[in-house]
């Protein structure tokens, strides 16, 4: 049994950012565990630019962004244990990990940060009928084949779902000489960032078919085509509109799911909406001393927010390590009208690690103009007009401690507003 001060599970941007911050805050013993042979998480295969605009004010590729944190972590003496998978976690912070050199490793940590990222939703999760031939990939798996292994998953491709990974892969595969026939999206709007729609589809004349879905996969051994159809307002396919599209590959970009198997083992409370742990102002889960950040907590579209959240978790871990007996009363944070969720789920205003708390949220639908209002039991404490709100783009708003003094509940509402002459925020 090894005794460690802070163990971080996952060495993607969340884990690495948290590790760097933890060292800066003076935590001496910081161990990062990652199952891959290189740190960096999903960023290793995101060779496109678009990372770090907020944090570094420049446009980096995924590997470049990761590399900055890897270097910093190494300089600061963070120990990174690679090719090692954490397979068990208990509520009293015991971790079992395995690798081929040391075998089975048992670790007792004083504090733990969960940074395991997410996995992709699959065909099964969305129940696409048809055969089960080779040639159906999740977009991230295809991305790994292309960008890391150097292999092409297909020549003629249909992409289901307009999540960012799917959009990025549409461009990537096109640049590699494959023919992307179309991107099919069941919703009346895209699930990806607007800049990706423009730069990855429009620039390459790849059609985006909204309100369409794949209703059948053909081919016994290898995909020979898919049938797509328009859907009605209840998302039911309208079979009269069905048409066959020949292709040898179907990529799925239909959502990401936080990877919380370990969290469940530790009996951490999970929010069924985000798929990640319920957290407080310092990203601490329902189990004191276990923190979470990045995609394991909720799915992020921008890595900069991942880093910010990780910094908060590291600060939380540092204050926990300094005083682990502290008990908190919480003000509940409620997602009201127009919002799928708001994070953190609950806060203790006195114990906020910074003088302002940033809340992250996602809207339930796109709105050209909307008013975000935050109310306590006493009434509205803050409100702001937002433009071009989309479920795929995370919203955030900082609120000062002073604005929240003495309140008992915090409720967020997002209301669509008719477009008036008023401009901007």
């Amino acid at each position: 049994m090894q005794n460690r001060e802070l163990v971080i599970i996952g060495g993607g941007p969340a884990g690495l950012s948290a590790a760097v911050e933890a060292r800066r805050l003076g935590i001496k013993d910081v161990l990062v565990i990652d199952r891959e042979s290189e740190p960096g998480g999903i960023l290793k295969q995101c060779i496109h630019p678009g990372f770090g605009l907020h944090i570094f004010k420049e446009e980096l590729t995924g590997p470049e962004y990761a590399e900055r944190f890897v270097r910093e972590a190494k300089n600061l003496g963070v120990e990174i244990m690679l090719d090692t998978m954490a397979i068990e976690l208990t509520a009293d912070k015991r971790i079992i990990a395995v690798n081929s050199q040391e075998g089975l490793i048992e670790i007792q940590a004083k504090a733990v940060i969960l940074a395991m990222g997410c996995r992709e939703r699959t065909r099964g999760a969305i129940n696409i009928p048809g055969f089960r031939p080779a040639g159906v990939f999740t977009a991230g798996t295809a991305q790994r084949f292309v960008n890391i292994e150097g292999y092409m998953p297909g020549r003629e491709i249909v992409i289901l779902g307009s999540g960012d990974i799917g959009l990025i892969m549409a461009r990537r595969l096109t640049l590699e000489g494959a023919k992307v026939r179309c991107v099919v999206e069941i919703m009346p709007y895209s699930n990806g960032l607007t800049r990706n729609i423009v730069q990855c589809l429009e620039d390459y004349d790849i059609p985006l078919l909204l309100k369409h879905t794949v209703v059948n996969i053909h081919g016994r051994k290898r995909v020979e085509g898919v049938t797509i159809a328009e859907v009605d307002d209840n998302m039911k396919p309208i079979m009269e509109t069905a048409k066959f599209i020949p292709c040898d590959t179907l990529l799925l970009s239909v959502g990401l799911i936080p990877e919380n198997e370990l969290s469940r083992m530790a009996e951490i409370q999970i929010d069924e909406v985000t798929g990640g742990p319920v957290v407080n102002q310092r990203m601490e889960t329902s189990v004191p001393g276990i923190f979470a950040c990045g995609n394991v907590l909720h799915v992020h579209d921008l890595v900069d927010f991942v880093t910010r959240e990780a910094i908060l978790a590291a600060r939380g871990a540092a204050s926990y390590l300094a005083d682990s007996d502290k008990k908190y009363d919480y003000v509940p944070v409620v997602a009201g009208d127009g919002l799928r969720y708001v994070l953190p789920h609950r806060i203790n205003i006195e114990a906020m690690p910074e003088k302002r708390q940033t809340f992250f949220m996602r809207s339930v639908k796109p709105m050209a103009k909307a008013r975000l209002s935050i109310e306590s039991e006493k009434g509205v404490i803050k409100s702001r007009v937002m433009r071009y709100v989309k479920p795929s783009e995370m919203l955030s708003i900082p609120i000062d401690r002073d604005e929240m003094k003495g309140i008992k509940i915090l409720k967020f509402n997002l209301q669509e507003e008719g477009d008036s002459v008023e401009r901007g925020e």
């Binding site: 996995r119 699959t122 999760a125 009928p129 048809g130």
Partner: protein, 489 residues
């Protein structure tokens, strides 16, 4: 000259192969696909039925009841997971309660032990998630669940170890008969001369029989579709939950798997083609509707996969297991629909009896080994055992499938064992890698790499399930059409 050629590497063919491997004779099993358990034996309800369902006097009834108790021994010897969890037939109205009485009587006359009708209170206690409107249930404690492809693979491995040759990628194209007796079997690669042929070709058994000029019967495919759920919800039922059966089928059930998941299905629809294992939208809706009658609260958001299997329905409505009267040495084992899996051990016994009657001399080997080499399943080991195993072979410390915790060591074993895996699906059936909630998203690139390395082939040659199902289409840069500058080869 061979003694016996078995056509078909499903559970029936492999069970027969293993039984034959006890004796001093030369036998070969031919399977058209790149792995055994590639047909109906890989996609079914995986239940070892108690045996109350089949009509008394039929082969189905007799062989099911005889087969059921043999699974403890076979699965013990071959280290195949088998759980006798019992089954419940649920009655939702008075008419169905009466039908339960009939089933009970039928079960008794079939010789099924331990059957009883239980009250709704007891049912609720046993299965709290079952429809609260249920009035009573028929409880069959001897019903069990198994992993049908793992069983089939284990049987093939063990037969192979004991001297039966298993030839994969070997579709039978022709059968030669001379002087009214079997002479040879032709595959694309060779002609095998043999004294006996056992036709266990599943859905295609009628075609093989016709090829040989033996008895004519017809097999039509009847599809059954399934949805399988995340292991997190595996505890929803503890036993096999059946509706009260109708004339045509046992109905749509809710059933745990030996791996801790649960599934719903199957429906029952005749289809035109013998390889139509496509899942349909109507099918999905049908099984959800059916399963909800038994368990109203299904975690439909946590479906991880769907699949379909085809019943080999014969026009005689019973198993066809007999020596041909037209072609000496040709033995049909066809129409093996449900409960074919449950009956397989007894079918094999019966086939051996027939072979004896037909003049094959069965002399026991003294070196028959009923056990297959041990299988290491990392996820089932204690921490001590895990540590020990990794120390001996570091590849067991590298986890490849994160959802099912399958290590590189296990994947290498699956490839190197007798009747080893040659494709992604074959690895999956042997190790469960890729069967969890991410469905191979994470591990498939890694398994492609391991298969390529172990088999000494290019990753481009690695398939999902045999030739024609290659996973990858080329190297990067290969498809780029350029003016011949960058990509001039």
């Amino acid at each position: 000259m061979l003694d016996v050629v078995i056509i078909g590497g499903g559970v029936v063919g492999c069970m027969i192969a293993r039984e034959l491997s006890r004796y001093q004779l030369k036998a070969v099993l031919l399977e058209k696909e790149d792995d055994v358990a590639s047909g109906t034996s890989k996609a079914n309800s995986a239940i070892i039925h108690a045996g109350y369902d089949a009509k008394p006097g039929t082969l189905k009834a007799k062989l099911n009841v005889r087969g059921n108790p043999l699974f403890d021994i076979i699965c013990g010897e071959l280290d195949v997971p088998f759980k006798r969890i019992g089954s419940l037939v649920v009655a939702l109205n008075e008419e169905e309660v009466r039908a339960l009485e009939e089933l009970l009587e039928r079960g008794k006359s079939n010789g099924v032990p331990g059957l009883e009708i239980i009250s709704r209170e007891r049912l609720r206690e046993m299965e709290p998630n079952v429809n609260r409107e249920a009035l009573a249930a028929l409880y069959a404690p001897t019903a069990g669940i198994i992993c049908p492809y793992e069983l089939t693979i284990a049987l093939a491995e063990n037969a192979c170890q004991n001297g039966v040759e298993i030839k994969l990628n070997s579709p039978v194209l022709g059968v030669r008969v001379e002087n009214g007796g079997v002479l040879s079997v032709r595959t694309p690669g060779e002609t095998l001369y043999t004294r006996y042929i056992i036709n266990a070709a599943g859905l295609f058994a009628d075609e093989i029989s016709r090829l040989a000029g033996a008895e004519d019967y017809r097999i039509t495919p009847r599809k059954g579709e399934y949805l399988i759920f995340d292991r997190r919800f595996g505890g929803i039922v503890s036993r096999v939950i059946f509706p009260t059966p109708t004339k045509i089928s046992k109905g749509i059930l809710v059933c745990p798997t030996v791996d801790g998941n649960f599934f719903i299905g199957p429906n029952s629809n005749d289809v035109g083609e013998k390889d139509d294992v496509a899942v349909t939208q109507q099918g999905i809706e049908e099984i959800i509707k059916g399963a909800r009658k038994l368990v109203p609260d299904l975690p439909l958001k946590h479906v991880i996969s769907s699949f379909a299997g085809l019943r080999a329905v014969s026009d005689t409505d019973d198993f066809v297991i007999r020596a041909s009267k037209k072609v000496k040495g040709f033995i049909n084992v066809g129409g093996i629909q449900s409960p074919g899996l449950s009956s397989a051990p007894a079918i094999a016994e019966m086939v051996l009896e027939i072979l004896k009657e037909e003049g094959l001399e069965l002399r026991e080997k003294n070196n028959f080994n009923p056990k297959r080499p041990p299988i290491f399943k990392f996820r089932h080991l204690s921490n001590e055992e895990k540590r020990e195993l990794i120390r001996k072979k570091p590849a067991y410390g590298r986890i490849i499938c994160r959802c099912e915790t399958v290590t590189e060591g296990e994947i290498i074993d699956a490839i190197r064992r007798p009747v080893g895996a040659r494709s992604l699906d074959a690895v999956k059936r042997r190790t469960r890698a890729g069967m969890g909630r991410c469905q191979g998203g994470f591990c498939s690139p890694r398994i492609v790499e391991i298969l390529a390395r172990e088999l000494g082939i290019s990753p481009l040659e690695v398939t999902k399930c045999g030739s024609g199902s290659e996973i990858l289409k080329g190297r990067t840069k290969e498809f780029i059409e350029t003016g011949g500058v960058i990509n001039a080869k």
